[in-house]
Symmetry: C2
DNA sequence: GACTTTCAAATAATCGACAAAAATGAATTA
DNA sequence: TAATTCATTTTTGTCGATTATTTGAAAGTC
């Protein structure tokens, strides 16, 4: 069937109205739920009722349910058979365990990374730091702590994560990087918790990141590790105050 | 409305016909799929078609789909939006990364555990070892390598896992223990792969476990760590031969 | 002959409704 | 008052069917 003339090959077909970036609803729900839990929009320990979430995110039960199942394995949500999902609760004991583990695992990752990292890696770290300083962070959390619904991961948050990942990116093991990112996510929840309440404790923390970069470019492994651990410990202390001893 | 006589409070009510252990279909599917992937019944890299799995496990799409979503976050299955699920494939590079990470992370865990562990912990290790030797393992894999469908995790496999967990159980961080278990699962896939093909390479490995226990009760940290790393390396070598360089 | 385009079959994703279990709360009893 | 029972209601878990997307093969074009 001959089509008329020489329709000039629709370059890419401009996919009409692309709802999302080609992602599925379930993936979108996963991302948004993940953000909302990490950013403490959904409060730790609270129940995650499926129908509520359906109206909140404007989709059916199936995608929500799939997203929740993924979150369970991230440790962000908990599931009890026949009793449903809830936001994994935070506690001092949990934080304690988390911080210790972060120190242990990240020390290895950073040491290996500094051992193997070439100049390209080093430049990646410097670049990531630059981006971190350019983006003000806390873009999502207004002074009053109010957050506009529907706000996604601020670029500042992403820059922070990217910086920490860049540090260990040359460790030579994707597995190790993955573990560190899991730990980072978990820690982020505590960071946001601390920020939400005491907003005047705002960071003289740009400094800490600078110290890290300095140690890295100086190739002083021990100093870098020490600074990193100190960094973790500060986050720990900030969040600690907001928590009771008993989980929930 | 008076009920007759003094019905002696139905002790626990004997729940008629409990299909499963009170678990949901989704949880059952999750467990079975997990086993089947770890035990290499489902071959690495192959597609996981939902309908196939429905007939295989005798349930609807919903529970299967939920189970698959959980597996994704375990790293056992992979999901590409709109293209569905598949069994995460194995490769030399992946194994390499995994083994390195196991050595690093388990070293920390074991060191800490031996530092903190009291005699109760020590007894736990000895007990776990005893159970390991009592259960022949490979109960699920017949000499011919054939596996009866529907077979669940053999008690031998469980004993092996329990032994390794007992070693690090006193490390003082649930997070770290969890990470080690993730790594253990991933490694188990390679172990089964190796076993499936070369069944005569069967273990003089009870020995390695014995050496571990000896080092632990002797409280010789460095020796224990060395043995553990060697143990990991051997698994690595066994599986390595079965793999091509290119993943899939 | 190699490369598109088209179309049909297969598969994935989502919806809406139903069934099963747990939480809620008022009425009853000790 | 405190505890127990039972019916009501909410919420979870599952199914079947519908819609959207990809895959693969046949037809067409340069």
């Amino acid at each position: 069937m001959p089509k008329q003339a020489a329709r000039p090959k629709p370059v890419i077909a401009e996919p009409a109205v692309v709802k999302n970036g080609g992602a599925t609803l379930a993936s979108e729900a996963y991302q948004r739920l993940r953000e909302d839990i990490i950013n403490a929009v959904l409060v730790p320990g609270s129940k995650l009722r499926v129908q509520e979430l359906c109206t909140r995110y404007g989709m059916g039960q199936s995608p929500i349910r799939e997203a929740l199942n993924r979150l369970v394995r991230d440790g962000l949500a908990s599931l009890s058979d026949h009793k449903g999902f809830s936001v994994t609760s935070l506690s001092r004991a949990h934080l304690e365990s988390l911080t210790k583990t972060r120190c242990w695992v990240n020390e290895i990752a950073l040491r290996e990374s500094m051992l193997n990292g070439d100049s390209a890696w080093e430049e990646g770290v410097v670049l990531a730091y630059h981006r971190l300083t350019r983006n003000p962070r806390r873009a999502s959390a207004q002074p009053g702590g109010v957050r506009v619904d529907g706000t996604y991961n601020s670029s500042g948050e992403q820059a922070h994560r990217a910086f920490h990942t860049s540090l260990i990116s040359a460790c030579g093991s994707p597995w190790l990087i993955d573990l560190c990112e899991q730990l980072f996510d978990a820690a982020d929840r505590y960071r946001h918790l601390a920020r939400a309440t005491s907003s005047r404790t705002a960071r003289p923390r740009g400094d800490e990141h600078k110290l890290l970069v300095d140690a890295v470019v100086a190739r002083d492994v021990d100093r870098a590790v020490a600074v990193l651990k100190k960094h973790f410990s500060r986050t720990h202390e900030l969040a600690r105050g907001q928590l009771s001893d008993d989980p929930a």
